[in-house]
Assembly symmetry: C2
Homo-oligomer: 283 residues x 2
């Protein structure tokens, strides 16, 4: 794997580039991005070696797509059009069903591996790229059987070098579950941020009274809207379902409070406290 | 300040004890707690020097109440009954209006300072106590003018030694604002945890797919229900108001998604992104 293309040189793509270069100093890392300033920044930060164009993809050994999921729907088929039979192409999108569907009948479908690394921060752009972002993180692979065996192997070897744990799922199940453990968290944080900002016009009050608990709960509201709006669009049905359930749980909690049933309020929290054990498993 | 009483030797009280002992090694720290096991644990962890009883409070220079806010309503007047004229008593409760009201006409009202240190973690009990919990944290003081000047001074000197930033507010404003930046975050996290646990009966799926974003957003759902149910009870009106607004914002977001108006979804997030700057101020 000497010739590597990163399409989208932000947090996700850039972090792949940094680790790959460290693992394989002999490789050349090319960057493609519709944001010229990001490409220049990525070169300056030594995230990529050179800028490139889609036409250059024919020489790629590996192509990583790390762009908003709506762009992936059009760019992924285009990438497959350009790559050679020996290239492995994977994306890193937070949705999988529509993306897999977009290349279902592509003649080079077997060059593509559908991937979702559960890793990231609330920051974005080339400057957000960091080493070891993927270390010990879960990597969900969908429709593995539709990828050529030799190419699967090459991608898995890279994921292993990066220290990732692999889980195989079908795209439908992926999109359904990820709506709960990732997409809903983002909406929850964004709307919490909105609620507080709307109320506290005098930001000094937020600044002074907010503690680390608020900071932690609202952290994801710093995330990139350009990345997240397309995710919500593609996973609309599942995300709306999670929102329905979340809103219904909040309403129930509110009703218990209105009724003055604070034993039941206690019970609600006590039952959910059990999340400690689940989260201990994550870390 | 040689004789210090900590009532409630958990995360908050224990952390005060640890720092005070370090700053004033000559002091003796007494612990009062209705949980005998916690007192033993606190002695073993060198958080307190000795167990004590309410009758011993007459020798106190300083008394810190760090117990659930419903218990504070009955224990605080009782503490004031016992202390000498020279003792300063402060609580650390997350609500202030009812607590201030509970001692409004107490003959020793001037021995009490109403305090809310904006500090904590999602853990609880003596084992959760840590050094420097209060360093660089905001400390909200209410009705400062109702505390004897010399005693105010003594408490402020301690807060200064602990590295805290002081803000003065009236109890009503405190309870209203804190509902937004603290109480609502907790409900948001608890209900997010509940929504995901309810859905994902197979916890292995949560474990494998959840990333640091989910972990961060749901962190407060590990908090102690025994501490939080009474806070919600005491701040019922304000908390219900925040929940109404939060639910309304979530519903609006859902409607935008149902209508397929993802430009508006983008806008919602873009506007709230501005929270970055506010949060940068916190850290």
């Amino acid at each position: 794997m000497n010739t590597i293309f990163i399409i989208g040189v932000g947090l996700i793509g850039g972090s792949f580039a940094l680790d790959i270069k460290k693992l394989h100093p002999e490789s050349t890392i090319f960057g493609i991005d519709n944001n010229e300033a990001h490409l220049d920044e990525a070169i300056e930060l030594k995230i990529i070696d050179q800028k490139a164009k889609f036409e250059d993809l024919e020489k790629a050994d590996l192509v990583i797509l790390a762009i908003p999921v709506d762009a992936t729907l059009t760019i992924l088929p285009k990438v497959l059009d350009h790559v050679s039979d020996n290239a492995i192409v994977f994306d890193a999108g937070s949705t999988k069903e529509d993306i897999c569907f977009s290349v279902k009948n592509h003649p080079k479908r077997r060059n593509y591996l559908a991937v979702h690394p559960i890793a990231g921060t609330e920051h974005s752009g080339p400057k957000a790229a960091i080493h070891n972002l993927y270390k010990s993180k879960t990597n969900i692979i969908c429709e593995v059987e539709d990828t050529a065996f030799k190419l699967q192997e090459r991608a898995l070897e890279l994921f292993s070098e990066l220290g990732m744990r692999i889980r195989y799922m079908n795209p439908k199940a992926h999109d359904k579950h990820i709506a709960y453990v990732s997409h809903l968290s983002h909406i929850s944080a964004f709307m919490l941020g909105k609620t507080v900002i709307d109320k506290e016009r005098n930001e000094r009050d937020i600044f002074d009274m907010a503690g680390s608990g608020f900071e932690s709960t609202v952290r994801l509201a710093k995330s990139s809207p350009a990345m997240w709006a397309p995710i919500f669009k593609q996973n609309k049905t599942n995300v709306i379902e999670t929102l329905d359930e979340y809103i219904s749980n909040l309403k129930h909690f509110k009703t218990l409070m209105e009724d003055g049933d604070f034993d039941a309020v206690f019970e609600e929290m006590e039952t959910t406290n059990h999340i400690k054990d689940i989260l201990n498993g994550i870390q």
